[in-house]
């Protein structure tokens, strides 16, 4: 038996995370079983009909670029990578009449702790991303695109490459797609272990073969992107939402969710739940329902806290979360952010100081070193939390954590500085008593770390 054969038997099957049948009105994960990722499977689910519709090769009149963008605007689709920026608006910023090369980039560098939704999209439904990107390219007059995939999910990168080959062979990518006048070349690239490359300008640097250090904005990628050319970057799940929107209309998508928060969203639920996994549900679904889909909190435990949008977002205590719905505006109102949709659940056996310690180590490790407040500040934060966790802290350290966070946040080129600072501030805001206990008693107030 070869090494690959042995290792394949330990690979994820998607049964637990994606094919559990516990989604609510799924669009992207609809009908998947792990084996039906091929082109013909996707087409039997209605795949590539949206592309044919806009190109007018299905016998219809086709859609203009403006019409496609108008539908996406109407859908209220917002960026699924973390920032939640309206997708149609972003597409309309692209200088379509720019005479030179323009680029389309898909951000599949999914490394925000807690997030694993894009992996399952690319692994089990890769053509939906290809079709979404082709539609976006058409709408913005772009002829070349790249999908930059997290280096750690190499099997998924290889899956996407295989899907690209299928699409090329069927004339769905390449020159004069399906006999129309529209040409689009799409390629896959991979990272190799750098959280920062999920930041869009760091990703562009990496795609250019450099260290992934973020660029100062402005200029924004729409005017100075890949190789200095106008570039639009969207998240994997954002592109994956597009074919459904074109087939069914912007209004129908909007109605799946709630005003200003259209459609479904995939939440990656991790941590102290019975069934960690990805759950695709309509925007605006109560958190309590999502928790129920994930099987509830671990047996015999109570919900303590939730980080609702990936590790960079502020933590919220159980009572606030249980009264919150899962959409951009509701979570923002509750004091955090929807981010990438990674829901990290913590039960009453968890120490918040210890949890913050691991996150602070992460941001120190992944700071690219370019901006002083982040490079120095993230290390400082980690050392202070480490001191408190291990019983050597002082009460003034807690104020110091707050003050260092304030001096990082908003003072760096990219959002990693904010991402390092926000969890610290939120942990202290909601769980200050645990930090104080660690300092005063030199021990943890949570009896068991199971």
């Amino acid at each position: 038996m070869s090494v690959s054969n042995v290792l394949e038997r330990y690979a994820a099957t998607g049964q637990e995370t994606c094919f559990h049948g516990r989604h609510i009105n799924p669009q992207i994960y609809q009908g998947l079983d792990g084996s039906n990722w091929h082109l013909e499977d996707y087409q039997s689910r209605g795949g590539y009909q949206a592309l044919k519709k806009i190109l007018g090769v299905d016998g219809g009149a086709g859609l203009t670029q403006d019409e496609v963008i108008a539908i996406v605007k109407e859908s209220a689709l917002r960026g699924r990578g973390g920032a939640g920026f309206p997708t149609g608006l972003k597409w309309s910023f692209m200088p379509r009449q720019f005479p030179g090369q323009k680029y389309l980039v898909c951000n599949s560098d999914e490394g925000e702790p807690g997030t694993c939704k894009d992996r399952d999209i690319l692994q089990y439904n890769p053509h939906v991303v290809i079709e979404g990107m082709a539609i976006a390219a058409y709408a913005m007059g772009i002829s070349v695109g790249y999908n930059y995939i997290h280096g750690e999910i190499f099997a998924t990168y290889e899956r996407f490459e295989a899907a690209l080959e299928e699409a090329r062979s069927a004339g769905l990518l390449g020159d004069r797609i399906l006999g129309s006048g529209f040409s689009f070349q799409l390629h896959a690239a991979h990272g190799f272990g750098a959280y920062i490359c999920g930041e869009e300008t760091a990703l562009l640097e990496s795609l250019e073969g450099k260290k992934g250090q973020p660029r100062f904005k402005p200029p924004f990628p729409a005017s100075f992107g890949l190789y200095g050319k106008p570039t639009t970057i969207n998240n994997t799940e954002t592109f994956a939402a597009v074919p459904w929107i074109i087939r069914n209309g912007g209004q129908a998508y909007l109605e799946c969710g709630k005003p200003n928060n259209g459609g479904t969203k995939i939440f990656s639920v991790s941590g102290d739940v019975q069934r960690p996994g990805n759950y695709e549900i309509p925007m605006g679904t109560p958190f309590a329902t999502l928790l129920e889909l994930a099987g509830g909190v671990r047996e015999g435990r109570k919900l303590k806290a939730v980080i609702p949008g990936g590790s960079s977002m502020p933590v919220l205590p159980a009572d606030i979360m249980l009264a919150t719905n899962m959409d951009y505006d509701s979570i923002s109102k509750a004091g955090s952010m929807l981010g990438s949709g990674a829901v990290i659940v913590m039960d009453d056996s968890r120490c918040m100081v210890n949890s913050l310690l691991r996150l602070s180590y992460f941001y120190m490790h992944e700071s690219c070193g370019q901006c002083t407040p982040c490079r120095e500040g993230t290390g400082w934060l980690w050392r202070l939390v480490d001191r408190i966790e291990h019983g050597h802290g002082k009460l003034s350290d807690i104020e110091m954590l707050d003050s260092i966070s304030d001096n990082i946040q908003g003072r760096t080129i990219c959002a990693l500085g904010d991402a390092a600072a926000m969890p610290v501030k939120a942990m202290i805001k909601h769980f200050r008593h645990e930090f104080v206990h660690h300092v005063e008693h030199k021990t943890c107030m949570v009896p068991t770390q199971a």
Binding site: S2, V3, S4, V6, L7, E8, Y10, A11, A12, E16, T17, Q101, G111, E112, P113, G114, T115, C116, R119, Y146, G151, E152, I153, F154, A155, H187, A188, A189, H190, G191, F192, G193, A194, Y195, S206, L207, E208, G209, K210, K211, G212, Y227, S270, G271, D272, P276, N278, S311, A342, I344, V345, M346, R350, S355, R358, L359, F362, H365, E366, C368
Partner: protein, 163 residues
């Protein structure tokens, strides 16, 4: 020495990019070198730089910036256990200590027979499968309970000397 077979793989990567942007393929080329040769040596960096027509230092910057490139030789099997918070909540730290105990090494070390290197890693992007472990950069192993870790170590040890 980078063989012609490796260069043929390089060529498939450079073909993705504009002719004047060959440097874009550096990440993929270095990953291929690592897969074929185990790590990225200074000699390999020099050859990649020549192949892509870019400064040696620019290649070295890439090797040293990204976590997954091995700048030194590693064991036949490099095991990367994610210990970030979502995994930590599902016993990833215990999985890491279990492996330390089982292999008789600390994280960051290589077994004396050169079969295993054990490392802690940051988020692998498979949080719902925790504990997760990446083997030789390209194989993600999911739901790695201590039992499964033991089984995998036995199976890989058996293959350790072979091809």
């Amino acid at each position: 020495m980078i063989s012609d077979a490796i260069k043929a793989r390089f060529a498939r990567e450079t073909a993705k990019y504009p002719a004047d942007q060959r440097q874009s393929a550096v990440m993929a080329c270095l990953a291929i070198v690592q897969q074929e040769l185990g790590h990225v040596s200074s000699d390999s960096e020099r050859e990649v730089a020549a192949y892509l027509d870019m400064p040696l230092m620019a290649v070295h910057e890439v090797t040293t910036f990204y976590n997954m490139y091995n700048q030194e030789p590693v064991g036949r099997f490099k095991l990367n256990v994610c210990t970030n918070l979502p995994c930590q909540l599902r016993d990833a730290s215990k999985a890491l200590s279990h492996l330390e105990h089982r292999l008789g090494i600390k994280m960051g070390e290589t077994t004396s027979d050169g079969v295993f290197t054990l490392q802690q890693s940051e988020c692998l992007g498979a949080c719902a499968d925790a504990p997760v472990m990446l083997v030789n950069d390209r194989h993600m192993c999911s739901f790695m309970s201590n039992d499964k870790l033991d089984r995998l170590v036995v199976e890989l040890t058996a293959l350790g000397g072979g091809a």
